[in-house]
């Protein structure tokens, strides 16, 4: 088990390093970030001065090394726009995104797991069809459009919930629904498929044959085994959701890290964008690492691969 954890940890670190290099080099795509910072109407001297000030005249690998070694100390440089340390800016905004992510994945699990279980118990029943419809619709629903519809219905017409801001828990209800619904289909399908497989397994038939009550069979024998892959999928979805919260945060004007990313991209605020890409990637890497370790703990067969 320890060997598995160490090997998996090594992979996570390597992935993180590669992602950090890519996110750093992405923003040199345009050739010269100094021109972007100087903005329109800047002359040659201004651009040269900016190039020198930010160190863009040095080799890229050297710049990357500097950036990485400070990033390891949680120093991501200074935002071009706010003139504040990027780390402070992100730390400020991250709590909103984290709350949204946790609410979103909870909503998705609370909707998807019971639906998946019920659908698997009675395949082709009304519940199964409703579950299938919800998941097919969820996969095709543009999240920005879904968010706007919820605003039109619940904020403008019914006046039940606020349309923007993050002042109270009521502000998080609509964004949670949008974000959670996005993650629901995959979890529902996996729960249903897992339950179907487990319910036809020998040990479930044995449990039924020896007269165990149906509730016990479903929850103790079946769901416990079917839920293992769902745990790791939920972790992966959580990582995707934090990255995808940029759309939801911009619709509901939730000033979290996703909103900061959107604003910073519009402002050519390179250090902030680079740091945010890295932070969102790190979340994904940590979540999948934890999920794999948890999986290996729950299911020893996973340790060998």
């Amino acid at each position: 088990m320890l060997r598995f954890i160490l090997r998996r940890l090594g992979l996570a670190v390597l992935v993180a390093l590669t992602v950090s290099f890519i996110s750093f080099s992405l923003l040199f795509l345009s050739g010269d970030p100094a021109i972007a910072i100087a903005g329109e109407g800047a002359n040659e001297n201004d651009i040269a001065a900016i190039r020198k000030l930010y160190g863009f005249d040095r080799p890229m690998l050297l710049q990357y090394w500097d950036w990485l070694s400070s990033a390891l100390r949680f120093d991501f440089g200074e935002s071009y726009y706010f003139r504040l340390p990027v780390a402070d800016l992100i730390a400020d905004r991250l709590s909103v995104t984290m709350i949204l992510g946790v609410c979103g994945i909870s909503f998705a699990l609370l909707l998807a797991v019971p639906l998946g279980v019920l659908a698997a118990i009675r395949p082709n029943s009304i519940i199964d069809r409703v579950a299938l419809f919800l998941s097919v619709a969820g996969q095709a629903m543009p999240s920005f459009w879904f968010g706007l519809i919820l605003i039109v219905v619940f904020s403008i017409n019914l006046r039940w919930l606020p349309a923007s801001g993050a002042e109270s828990w009521r502000h998080f209800i609509l964004p949670t629904i949008v974000l959670g619904y996005y993650a629901m289909p995959a979890i529902m399908r996996l729960t249903r498929a897992g339950m179907l497989e487990v319910l036809s397994a020998d040990y479930v038939r044995t449990a039924r044959a020896k007269g165990a009550p149906e509730g016990l069979v479903l929850f103790k024998h079946a769901l416990r085994n079917a839920i293992i892959p769902v745990v790791s999928l939920a972790a992966v979805q959580m990582g995707f959701m934090l990255g995808g919260s940029i759309v939801v945060e911009s619709i509901f004007a939730l000033h979290g890290a996703g909103y900061l990313a959107w604003e910073s991209i519009g402002r050519n605020d390179l250090p902030t964008v680079q740091a945010l890409i890295l932070v969102f990637s790190l979340f994904y890497i940590v979540f999948t690492f934890l999920a794999d370790v948890l999986n290996a703990w729950l299911d020893p067969r996973m340790r060998s691969s």
Partner: protein, 309 residues
Amino acid sequence: MSAAMPRATATAAAPRDPLLEEITGPTPGQMLRRRIFGHQGFLIGTITLLVLLAIALVAPLIAPHDPYAQDLMSRMERPVFMGGDWDHVLGTDHLGRDYLSRLIYGARVSLLIGGVAALISGLIGTAMGVAAGYFGGRVDMVVTFLINVRLAMPVTLVALAVVAVLGGSLEVVIGVLGLLLWDRFAVVMRASTLQVRGREYVAAARAIGCSTPRILLTEILPNILNALIVVVTLEMAHAILLEAALSFLGLGVQPPTPSWGLMVSEGKNMMLFEPWLVLIPGAVLFVLVLAINLMGDGLRDVTAPENRS
């Protein structure tokens, strides 16, 4: 007559001979056709997609107005079912442009971006996945690592950042999405190749001295094609949704191009009074993606009935 009857029932009740069944029963083609026409979701999805594709192809012939022509005298006219007139069936936008015509031309943008992006990512992902699955060892390690790296990158954020740096032209959006969405191709093609590479016909091809490229192209690829087509549809839907999201956030296709995501974004400011400006383009987008997904899910069932759940 009376003597023949019992014999006939006896043959019908006799256990079926699988060999006889194979000779006299339906051909594989007939069975495939039966599965296709027995699968509602697949039929509905495919027909809807074909209709939208046809609309996109003949857009200039059927669009009632020029999608770029502004008419500031008739701005935000309502659709005909909300009290508008038949000149602008689905009303006009904030610049007086005919909404229906923009929707029709928007189908071109969505389908073009979805199709080409899926093609690019399909080429990259298939090459990586097949190489990893067939050669194994170091190649597999490298490809698996690259898939991990790619999955760790937040797609929306990276796509937004790159489009912001390079500018939001159609080519850039297609290129960015194509270079980002190869992960599922690589994962699925790797798994499918692993399944196929141990089969006898691959060993036979190797034994008679076929070159590796030939084995990959004539033995492996045709046998993983079904899975590939399913992933193509799913990733096409994915790319279309992402393009719409990017355009909605203002960092995708740029105005005045009629993109559905952009139309939702432009209508958003008037949403309080004219919600149909947002509802209509979003609904069309939803229908297109739904149709592609239904077709993809159906294809999976139709081509691999043993995997049907």
